[in-house]
Amino acid sequence: MIRLEPRKEVSKHLLYLTPVMAVAVTIALGLVMFAALGKDPFRAIAIIFYEPLTDLFTISEMIVKATPLILIGIGLSFGFRAGVWNIGAEGQFTFGALSGGAVALALYQVEGFWVLPLMCLAGILGGMAWAAIPAFLRTRFNANEILVTLMLTYVAVLLLSVLVHGPLKDPEGLNFPESRLFHEAATMPILIAETRAHVGFIVALVAVAVAWVVLSRHIFGYQVKVMGQSPKAAAYGGFVEKRVVWISLMISGGLAGLAGTFEAAGPVGQLVPALPVGYGFTAIIVAFLGRLNPIGILLAGFVMALTYIGGEGAQISMNLPSAVTGVFQGMFLFTLLGIDVLARYRVRMARRLPAEKGS
């Protein structure tokens, strides 16, 4: 029989090492998977994990993908630390994009430096509004926020679809379900010329810095940590659970909504039904792979972006299925959780367990 015994004190170094080990194990598993598919495993891994790093354009594309992942991941990390499980960032992302995009369309052809900030504000408020529904239901009726946030995701995605099929449809768009392309003042300024990397990345970096300060130096960061580890101690400390639930959902909703607006006003440039591509879900992996630590999330955001870009590369040059990206992201979460268990618990049995077994 295999038994897991909790370790008395988990070393901090080990906790930071586990994500690195998870990446290594995932790559090893990837080698096995490609070999089983009859592809050259080393070439496939090189295409996914190395080649995107050798070219300025692919790096800029990584920034495009990493920006929403980091923003959403940072937002989620507060709630996850406090035990508030918002897994519907995808919905808040979508509703935020819809809110920000609606402002852009309402102000179509209106010039002014304030158009884009107004869109961002609308996006933040939209994401917050969408997250306010689970916050209210949880604090008022004790409804499980996991279910509510997840289900609201589908509502938001369908709402976007309805609106771009109807009121927000481009009047000159030959009846395609798309909005107008946003005009110049409603589009994200480009960060690196000739690429799609936009200033949203700077905002993501600022979010990382602010989150780091809040988590390590501010009472709110302390509050979410205590709340997540021991709710009774939080009550003794004078922290009110409802407040923490509200604030952390507002942070995650707001940042997801902002990321949605950036996506609509940046790489996509309009509202389309296919705008939500799963950043909200992938950001959950980013948050955990980054150990809910802002710097870790920054790095994890890039690792995940790498799987997107590398996965596309593998599709093109090796004819691999597009599911490769999803498989890798799933394996990341799986191996991370498995290795985490091994870091926190000692395995007790006759024979030792190899690390891969954790996956």
């Binding site: 130096r217 501010h218 009472i219 940590k225 580890q229 021991s230 101690a233 003794y236 004078g238």
Partner: protein
């Protein structure tokens, strides 16, 4: 008594990672003997009896039961030999009846067809009144213990192990229990009685084995010893106990008027119209049997469950509506019963745990931002002043032993110089030396003019340190009277008296 001991232990050793829980322990119990196993928390008593009951297995040494080698692999084997055990923490299902619970804890073949009848017979034979059809949820703690005892008695035990049985009982209930145990002993059943309450052992037991740090340090006839000599054998040093002094009391600092609060826990106790006051320099002790509203009272007073403003006043300021932070700002600090997970966050370091309750009074939080250096300095101070044994303030709270963590938490509150301190079970699970330290610290704080409310189940402790005294039962508080003005019998009646009168009709409904 016959020549062959009922149970003989030879050189029992049990090691856990990093600690030897029992080191070469040998002693024997004769048939019909009431044998005390005496020792402080952490002396290895529980480990030892768990091996006798088959829950744990010794690394070295051997046991003989009735002359034959005895090595139970699991509790059911021990029960088949005639060993019964009543644990300190009951293993009963509240939603099942007494009879169902009894049946669940017995070996399959031992459960007879007419269990209800058997329960009634045994309960009458030993004076432990119990109705087999009642639900556990409606029973008092003392009655629940009877269920556990009867479960053992139904299996005709030759050895009954009792782990700290009196910590949840009123003095009257203790008397009934002792009668039962004496009757059992007269019938030839041996009893292994685990306790650190010295007076009890002196009244009940024929023989005592004293454990300290996992080793047998002495064995004696407790009736020939004084409580002091037993204590010194148990602790290994001479003790300087805290002494109650005639204090000059100042103005009322904490005033509670008509405080009522429903419990958040469905099995909890509602606080019902509690009124009292504590003056500057006063230590007010509140006694009571566990589960009579102590935790609820503490959480209401500390602000974890706010009420209406005027029910709680600190130095004349109405604070009933405030949370813990507001009350701390006005000078009220509190120490909860549960150290890990309530008074401290288990996985956080000591200095991070300082922020939890001292951030307001120690200026660690300013404008929402935390001064980490201040928190670390304060944690270092607490560790130094209260002699907390730890490898450093970077270590997690859960890495400390119970007594050290308690010293840390008590120190963390006392060094904030509170004007009002509420402390629940100040020395629960703490060794005698640390307990004496904590008592002295509380008295110093009172001498400096603070008002202190001590809620404890340990009557001796309250007698030793409090100036005034009250009893909580079923969420209601008795009148406050000077410590020493009530006899132990009167206190016992207060602890159980409310049960007897006001509770009886309610009970009948619950069981109907």
């Amino acid at each position: 008594m016959s020549e062959v001991p009922l149970l003989q232990l030879d050189g029992i050793t049990k090691r856990f990672p990093g600690v030897v829980a029992n080191d070469d322990v040998s002693f024997s119990i004769m048939p019909g003997e009431v044998h005390a196993l005496l020792g402080e928390n952490g002396a290895g008593k529980s480990t030892l009896v768990k091996m006798i009951y088959g829950v744990l297995h010794p690394d070295e040494g051997s046991m003989h039961f009735g002359g034959a080698p005895y090595a139970p692999a699991k509790p059911s084997e021990a029960r088949a030999h005639g060993v019964g055990m009543v644990f300190q923490h009951f293993s009963l299902f509240e939603a099942l009846s007494v009879a169902d619970n009894v049946a669940l804890g017995m070996n399959k073949d031992a459960v007879g067809a007419n269990l209800d009848q058997q329960i009634i017979e045994v309960s009458e034979a030993y004076g432990l009144v119990l109705d087999p059809t009642r639900y556990i949820g409606s029973l008092s703690v003392g009655e629940r213990q009877r269920v556990e005892i009867i479960r053992c008695l139904l299996q005709n035990p030759r050895l009954l192990i009792m782990d700290e049985p009196t910590s949840v009982l009123t003095p009257q209930e203790v008397d009934i229990l002792f009668e039962t145990l004496r009757q059992l002993s007269a019938e030839g059943c041996s009893i292994l009685y685990i306790s650190h309450k010295l007076e009890e052992i002196r009244t009940l037991c024929d023989k005592a084995t004293v454990l300290r740090g996992g080793k047998v340090v002495g064995s004696c006839d407790p009736r020939q010893e004084t409580a002091k000599s037993l204590a010194e054998m148990m602790i290994g040093t001479t003790l300087t106990m805290a002494e109650r002094k005639q204090a000059t009391l100042g103005d009322e600092r904490l005033v509670v008027r008509g405080l009522s609060a429903p419990s958040a826990d469905p099995f909890g106790v509602d606080i019902d119209d509690v009124s009292f006051s504590v003056r500057a320099g006063e230590i007010l002790g509140i006694a009571g049997v566990a589960g009579n509203g102590q935790v609820e009272l503490m959480e209401t007073l500390s602000g974890e469950h706010p009420t209406s403003p005027e029910t709680v006043m600190i130095d004349g300021a109405a604070v009933g509506h405030m949370g813990p932070t507001g009350r701390r700002r006005l000078g009220m600090c509190a120490v909860p019963e549960e150290r890990l997970g309530h008074g401290a966050v288990p996985d956080m370091s000591l200095w991070e745990n300082v922020i939890l309750s001292a951030r307001t009074r120690k200026g660690i939080e300013q404008g929402g931002f935390l001064d980490l250096a201040k928190a670390q300095a304060y944690a270092t101070d607490v560790v130094a002043q209260f002699n907390v044994k730890t490898a450093g303030i970077e270590h997690a709270a859960k890495s400390l032993s119970g007594g050290n963590l308690q010293k840390f938490i008590v120190g963390r509150e006392i060094m904030q110089a509170p004007t009002v301190l509420i402390i629940l079970q100040p020395t629960w699970g703490v060794d005698a030396a640390a307990a004496a330290d904590i008592h002295r610290a509380l008295q110093r704080l009172a001498d400096e003019g603070s008002a202190i409310l001590v809620i404890s189940q340990d009557l001796d402790e309250l007698m030793a340190i409090s100036n005034n005294f009250a009893v909580i039962a079923e969420g209601r508080l008795s009148d406050v009277s000077p410590t020493g003005s009530l006899s132990i019998e009167e206190i016992g009646l207060l602890m159980g008296g409310v049960h007897g009168s006001a509770e009886a009709p309610a009970r009948a409904e619950a069981s109907a």
